[in-house]
């Protein structure tokens, strides 16, 4: 029996994948675990490991082609197997869906809502006519029930059971936040009108990463009530400590590594800041897994260093350097950027004095870091010159009330001003 090889979700948020490169040719032997091809997801290029065994009979999706999660990309079987039925079924399943996806975009929805509604109504009918088992995801009944409760699309979950079956453990990691986010995202999409391009407007196609940024940050902004706290921090001692630490080192330890290490220690003392709003409860996390926003040519990504509270500054810096390098090469694996419990965004290098950042779920606070500047400061009724930096904490008010956020930020500022306090 020839077996279908389907596009699978290679990142938690992937909906479509672009085939970067086939590593096997038609006629090649394939064992379970072999890398079949490389797929560009919304965030990185990932190896696609085969779960099927046999011979690669047919490549359906050529290099450069795009496929939705669940679409047929290849067929594996025994030489001589009849694959015409599978190919016919895939042809029937994919084309109407593509047509359905295009219809709402083609309709001038703001100008003529009636026509848009008609087009939208027609689209599901067209896809309903297509055989649906082409995109069927194997899953346990319990997983299906949980996915429905959480509002998670099973096609976006990577199954770890036999034959790729989605089972409970594959859904356990997904907080109900995913459900809230999905719900809010749907509402936002429904509300946002699609404008017709005006004269001279340049239409720029949206990359997968841009879509994820748009969705995640809108979801965060719409669902979590943000408020902001700013404090100016004296940096003379930390910068002096850093230069002492860096003297004689080939690679200098970055200020960001200090920020992450010290923030982790402040989180240890204010553990509620290191938690996730989980609709029915609050998940307080045992380790500070701190993400750092990294700018990319077309977007940004937040790789994270896990358990910063139990790592030295040099170790954090080393990990950070590797992650940033991977991020820029588009080689981050999902576990490298998923699940930050706290995030830091530093625009100091761009000369920004202070700013507010949008919380990066599942965390419930983000620290926006401005530039270090020499400033006149009044000390003992005398004006002295000090190096100062402004940091702004965005808090999710569902978890962190004002006094709690302020206490955390005050302690963090004190530690940054006097790094020895972090050891106390």
């Amino acid at each position: 029996m020839p077996e279908k090889v389907l596009m699978i979700a290679l990142s938690p948020t992937m909906e479509t994948g672009t085939l970067a490169r086939w590593r096997k040719k038609e006629g090649d032997k394939v064992s379970s675990g072999d890398v079949l091809c490389e797929v560009e997801t919304d965030k990185a290029t990932m190896d696609y490991e085969s779960s099927a065994e046999g011979t690669l009979l047919k490549i359906v999706l050529p290099e450069g082609g795009q496929a939705k999660v669940g679409d047929l990309i290849a067929i594996v079987g025994k030489p001589g197997d009849d694959i015409s039925a599978l190919l016919a079924e895939a042809g029937g399943a994919t084309s109407p869906r593509a047509a359905g996806a295009k219809a709402p975009l083609a309709a001038p929805s703001t100008a003529r809502p009636a026509a848009a509604a008609a087009a939208a109504a027609a689209a599901p009918a067209a896809s309903a006519a297509a055989p649906s088992h082409g995109a069927r995801v194997k899953s346990s009944p319990l997983a299906r029930k949980l996915a429905e409760q959480k509002g998670v699309d099973l096609r976006s979950v990577r199954g770890t059971g036999p034959g790729g079956r989605v089972v409970r453990r594959d859904l356990d990691g997904l907080a109900a936040g995913a459900a809230a986010a999905a719900g809010a995202g749907t509402a936002a999409r429904a509300a946002a009108p699609v404008l017709q391009p005006g004269p001279g407007d340049q239409v720029i196609p949206v990359s997968g990463m841009r879509k994820v940024i748009a969705k995640r940050l809108s979801d965060s902004m719409y669902t979590s009530p943000h408020y902001y706290l700013t404090v100016a921090v004296g940096m003379d001692e930390l910068l002096a400590a850093r230069s002492r630490l860096n003297s004689g080192r080939d690679r200098k330890i970055s200020v960001n590594a200090f920020l992450m290490g010290i923030a982790a220690r402040a989180l240890e003392r204010h553990p509620r800041v290191n938690s996730t709003w989980n609709t029915e409860n609050i998940l307080q996390h045992p380790t500070a897994d701190i993400g750092l926003a990294v700018a990319l040519p077309d977007g940004l990504i937040t790789p994270l260093v896990r358990d910063c509270g139990h790592k030295g500054i040099a170790a954090i810096d080393m990990e950070l350097a590797e992650l940033i390098e991977k991020a820029r090469a588009g080689k981050l694996a999902p576990q490298d950027y998923t699940g930050a419990t706290f995030t830091i965004s530093n625009l100091g290098a761009m000369g920004i004095d202070e700013f507010t950042a949008i919380i990066n779920p599942p965390g419930s606070a983000i620290l926006a870091v401005g530039a270090v500047r020499k400033e006149p400061v009044v000390e003992n009724d005398t004006v002295v010159v000090r190096q100062r930096m402004r940091i702004t904490l965005s808090c999710d008010h569902r978890i962190i009330d004002g006094a709690m956020g302020a206490a955390f930020l005050r302690e963090l500022a004190d530690m940054l001003e006097n790094p020895l306090l972090a050891l106390a």
């Binding site: 346990s140 009944p141 319990l142 997983a143 299906r144 029930k145 770890t160 089972v167 409970r168 453990r169």
Partner: protein
């Protein structure tokens, strides 16, 4: 409470019920003068006399039919089969008469009778004498089937079986007669149709009955060492079946392994697996697994015999499969 063997617990139940009710009689091969092939009825002939403890000829169909007739006439006979393998001689009496009489007489006759004896493989007995025949009897409406796993359950269930107004098949095991356990003295009644949680757990439900319950408990201990917290449910009664206890457990653990020493085809185990699959469908995270005897006539070679039986290793492997571990 005293620690006694399974055979002593059954004897206590028989003795107490014969003491309590003159209509209770015991008949079968060697139950009187020889004190029972497995010494369950030791001392009863001496105490109750040959009118109530009756040695029969070696003719299962005959004495089973006599028992059924006596039940129709108002007695409460306990028929001992030396083994359920010999009951195959008497199947027509049980299935066509005992099971159907109340229904076909429109309630004019009831058949308050217990058929009891050892059932299931017991090592070195060969293919013909190693059969677990519960699914045969559980198949027929009109029969109750009981299969305890501990001396206390044996006593409480046998007393209920004797007092029941319907035919009850009471399954014992050669391998269990010498097993000791705490048994309450005097009146101790366990209703038919109530399962028992022999070990509470949260990760997976092991369902068994009769002799293999001990194996399931051993497997649960082995799994505990690996951090798996297994619940063990002893069905105790196959007909009526305590479905609620089974579903409540599976809905909590989301996984189920059934351990049944009979052959797998159309067995009590496969039937319970179907019930769980149907009634707990949305709560299952993995297919229901069945650890059964192998689908072969029992080999006489002891190595092969052990390989054909359920084992702790087989149960642990099935649990790991259901846990995707």
């Amino acid at each position: 409470m005293s620690s006694i063997t399974f055979r002593e617990a059954l004897r206590a139940a028989l003795d107490e019920e014969m003491e309590r009710d003159d209509s209770v009689i015991l008949l079968g091969e060697e139950v009187g003068q020889y004190n029972g092939a497995y010494k369950v009825s030791q001392g009863l002939l001496e105490k109750y006399g040959p009118e109530r403890v009756i040695d029969t000829p070696i003719s299962e169909e005959g004495f089973t039919g006599i028992g059924i007739g006596a039940a129709m006439a108002g007695l409460r006979p306990v028929v001992e089969w030396m083994t359920f393998n010999f009951s195959l001689q008497a199947v027509d009496q049980v299935v066509s008469n005992a099971a159907k009489m109340r229904y076909m007489s429109g309630g004019q006759f009831s058949v308050p009778i217990v058929f009891r004896g050892p059932n299931g493989p017991a090592e070195f007995l060969g293919a013909q004498h190693s059969q677990a025949l519960q699914s045969l009897y559980a198949h027929f409406p009109g029969l109750k089937v009981v299969a305890p796993s501990t001396p206390a359950d044996g006593k409480g269930l046998l007393k209920s079986a004797i007092r029941d107004d319907n035919p009850v098949l009471f399954l014992e095991s050669e391998m269990m007669y010498g097993v000791k356990g705490e048994v309450p003295e005097g009146e101790h009644i366990i209703p038919l149709g109530a399962a028992d949680v022999k070990r509470a757990g949260k990760d997976i439900t092991l369902i068994s009955y009769s002799k293999p319950v001990r194996m399931a408990l051993e497997a649960a201990e082995a799994l505990a060492a690996d951090g798996v917290d297994a619940e063990v449910i002893d069905l105790r009664s196959l007909r009526p079946l305590d479905e609620r206890a089974v579903y409540e457990s599976v809905m909590r653990t989301n996984r189920c392994v059934i351990v049944d020493e009979s052959m797998p085809f159309a067995s009590v185990g496969s039937h319970v697996a179907w019930l769980v699959s149907r009634n707990c469908f949305d709560d299952l995270d993995a297919p229901v697994e069945l650890v059964s005897g192998e689908d072969v006539p029992m080999p006489y070679n002891h190595g092969l015999e052990l390989a054909a039986l359920p084992s702790v290793d087989k149960i642990v492997a099935a649990v790991k499969k259901a846990l995707y571990a």
